[in-house]
């Protein structure tokens, strides 16, 4: 197996992992701080992609579209928090699951109403087009490298935010003991809205960046949502570090699995059969890994301090 191919696949795994991290970080923050399971996170991802596509088409600039996606997702997140999520804090997980499931329906159908049923067109900006040569003989798409860089930047930014700012301090306190910080006079309501909007913005960013790479259509968020949940469950809910490790793990396992499993099975079963069996196993692989991890560590790898 050539080194170039392996390097390219590892980078692919990292890029996929970064995208999952953006989703998972928001989810884990929202759950850790507010105790809310947000199934509508995939819809926020979709919203970011649509906002970016719409603005980019109207203005001709991807960068403006990116800003729009952050703004739109954050705004949508804030509105959803104020109108819906606020009423769910005291409820059990079941109610939260159902309410946010209902939100998925509303967002999906609403988006289809506004934008129609055909996929939307979003292009990579010329600045980030094309491929670059890497050591080892590999060639890699520049835009994907940019995504990896953005993801690392966001991870560092989140770390600084949480560890070094007052807002971060409040977030950490909120994760530890919700009632106490309310008793200490911190305005919980605003804190929650900010956290939710932050998580939403991250999801919107992921949606916009990936939308340029893939396609922008209704329902694009749900598959990612499920994987993001797998990530935070593996990593440990409430832990950003867990989200990072979990995302890298899931990204690498999935990408390398999709590449190596059909290859290995082809040795035993021949190309066509091996490809089908390998592909089938590869699609199940992440869930198998998650089940194994949960069997030994029922609360994920980095259990949050609660």
């Amino acid at each position: 197996m050539q080194t170039a191919l392996l390097i390219e696949q590892i980078l692919n795994g990292l890029q996929f992992g970064v995208m999952l991290f953006l989703m998972a970080a928001g989810l884990t923050l929202i759950f850790g701080v507010m105790g809310v399971i947000n199934l509508a996170h995939g819809s926020l991802y979709m919203l970011g992609a649509f906002a970016c596509a719409a603005v980019a088409a109207a203005t001709g600039s991807f960068w403006l579209g990116l800003v729009a996606s952050l703004a739109a997702a954050a705004a949508a997140g804030a509105i959803v928090e104020l109108l819906v999520i606020r009423r769910l804090y005291d409820r059990d997980h079941l109610d939260q699951v159902l309410a946010t499931f209902a939100l998925i329906l509303i967002f999906s159908e609403g988006t289809r109403w506004l934008f129609g049923s055909f996929p939307l067109y979003l292009d990579i900006p010329p600045l980030l087009s094309g491929a670059v040569d890497l050591p080892g003989g590999a060639r890699y798409q520049l835009y994907r490298l940019a995504i990896i860089v953005v993801g690392i930047a966001v991870a560092i930014g989140l770390y600084l935010l949480i560890a070094k700012t007052r807002l971060g301090m409040r977030i950490r306190a909120g994760e530890s003991d919700r009632e106490m910080i309310a008793a200490l006079g911190v305005d919980i309501r605003t804190l929650y809205t900010i956290v939710f909007a932050l998580g939403a913005a991250l999801a919107g960013l992921a949606g916009a960046m990936v939308g340029a790479l893939q396609s922008v259509q209704v329902g694009m968020g749900e598959p990612v949502l499920i994987l993001a949940f797998v990530v935070i469950v593996i990593g440990g809910i409430g832990s950003i570090k867990g989200a990072l490790v979990g995302a890298a793990l899931v990204g690498l396992v999935d990408t390398l699995g999709r590449f190596l499993l059909p290859l290995s099975f082809s040795f035993f079963l021949g190309p066509s059969q091996g490809a089908t069996v390998g592909a089938a196993l590869a699609s199940m692989l992440i869930y198998v890994v998650m089940a194994l991890i949960l069997a030994f560590r029922p609360r994920g790898l980095f259990q949050a301090s609660t």
């Binding site: 692919n12 996929f16 094309g130 060639r139 790479l213 893939q214 590869a282």
Partner: protein, 379 residues
């Protein structure tokens, strides 16, 4: 479930030429109007309704319902249409899995089913039925044509790729049936997968001279965009499903130059097609896709049969359908023994005309091509 009733005027015997009997025909159209795959259903519906609108026969009533791509819903709608609405003809299904759920039961109850899209091999072979007509193609056809074209174009080392589900494995089987070269790789991706980085890396490393993909809808858009950016550069081949009007806009310039096969193209030179393309664009403000052409032809087939026989006389109507005496946008049209079309499959290239991406015919791959399953059909 949406009910969009295009009402026919009943009763008044219209003495316009070409309309033999004023017997009303009720058509039930079950198609996908929502969700990621809605573009195909909307096109089929629009093409179908356009033909109905243009016809002098005003006794056709069309009921359209959305199956949202769910087989159980399609079955339920079909039951309702047969039992409650008492339709004479069913049509509209886009996806092969929904077709397999609905068609056998419908035709067993004596209703006609005309497929404007899905062409599963089971229904072309062992499970063929005298009441089932496929107006589009058998699923393998477009892939077979591309396999054939790959030979004539001199491609000797193809890398082939499709999603891991029956239509996907059928597609690659169809390609391999005609393609005589060597395979640089054969990959099955996950259905609904949107990131093809891993697969593209393998294509790059394989030394192939051509890449054949079957990736309908959003999957194809994602692949093409990523492929163009990856710098791999090996020519891409595919069936018309992945490169027609409904998705070209979203793929963008990355699609230019791709060769694809189809039984129809907007530049086919016959009067019926010219009228179709012009009136479709005038009516709906967009260029038609091959799906729209299939819907249009299906409606015209029904109209041609209605002009010859009453739908109440099943045998006569069936014979009239089989005769296929209508002006198809594909030119001449005829059915084989298994009620699937015997037709030419063209090779097209994606080009840009002004601001719009569309297809242009560059040759014929298979002439008077019949599907591979006709022999298994006992009709």
């Amino acid at each position: 479930m949406k009910k969009a009733m295009v009402a026919g005027l009943f009763g008044l015997a219209v003495s316009a030429p070409g309309v033999a009997l004023a017997e009303p025909i009720k058509v039930g159209m079950i198609t996908t109007l929502s969700g990621g795959g809605a573009g195909l259903g909307l096109d089929v519906r629009d093409g179908f309704l356009l033909a109905i609108k243009q016809s002098v026969n005003k006794d056709i009533e069309v009921i359209v319902e959305d199956d949202t791509m769910k087989p159980e819903l399609a079955v339920q709608i079909a039951d309702k249409m047969i039992q409650s609405e008492k339709v004479d003809i069913l049509t509209g299904i886009i996806w092969s899995n929904l077709a397999m759920a609905v068609v056998p039961n419908a035709v067993a109850q004596g209703k006609f089913y005309l497929s404007p899209n899905a062409g599963p091999s089971a229904l072309a072979g062992a499970k063929c039925n005298e009441n089932y007509f496929n107006v589009a193609w058998q699923n393998d056809n477009l892939h077979e044509a591309m396999g054939n074209y790959a030979n004539t174009a001199g491609y000797k080392k193809s890398f082939i790729l499709a999603p891991n589900y029956p239509a996907g494995t059928d597609a690659l089987t169809g390609y391999k049936r005609f393609y005589k070269g060597e395979l640089a790789g054969e990959l099955y991706t996950k259905l609904g997968q949107t990131d093809y980085a891993a697969e593209i890396a393998q294509v790059r490393a394989s030394g192939a001279d051509s890449v054949y993909i079957f990736l309908p809808g959003g999957m194809g858009i994602a692949f093409m965009k990523q492929y163009a950016q990856s710098g791999v550069g090996i020519p891409v081949l595919g069936p018309g499903f992945s490169f027609d009007q409904d998705v070209l806009g979203a793929i963008g310039d990355a699609a230019i130059g791709v060769k694809n096969t189809s039984q129809w193209s907007k530049d086919l030179d016959n009067p019926a097609n010219k009228t179709f393309v012009e009136t479709f664009q005038a009516e709906y403000g967009r260029l038609p896709s091959l799906y729209a052409s299939q819907g249009y032809d299906t409606a015209n087939l029904i109209l041609s049969a209605a002009a010859k026989a009453s739908v109440q006389d099943a045998d006569a109507f069936r014979a009239a359908l089989k005769a296929a005496d209508f002006k198809s946008v594909r030119g001449d049209f005829k059915f084989g023994n298994n009620n699937h079309p015997i037709q030419d499959i063209y090779v097209r290239e994606v080009v840009k005309e002004g601001d719009v991406l569309t297809n242009k015919i560059i040759g014929v791959s298979l002439e008077d091509h019949q599907d591979a399953y006709a022999k298994e059909c006992k009709m």
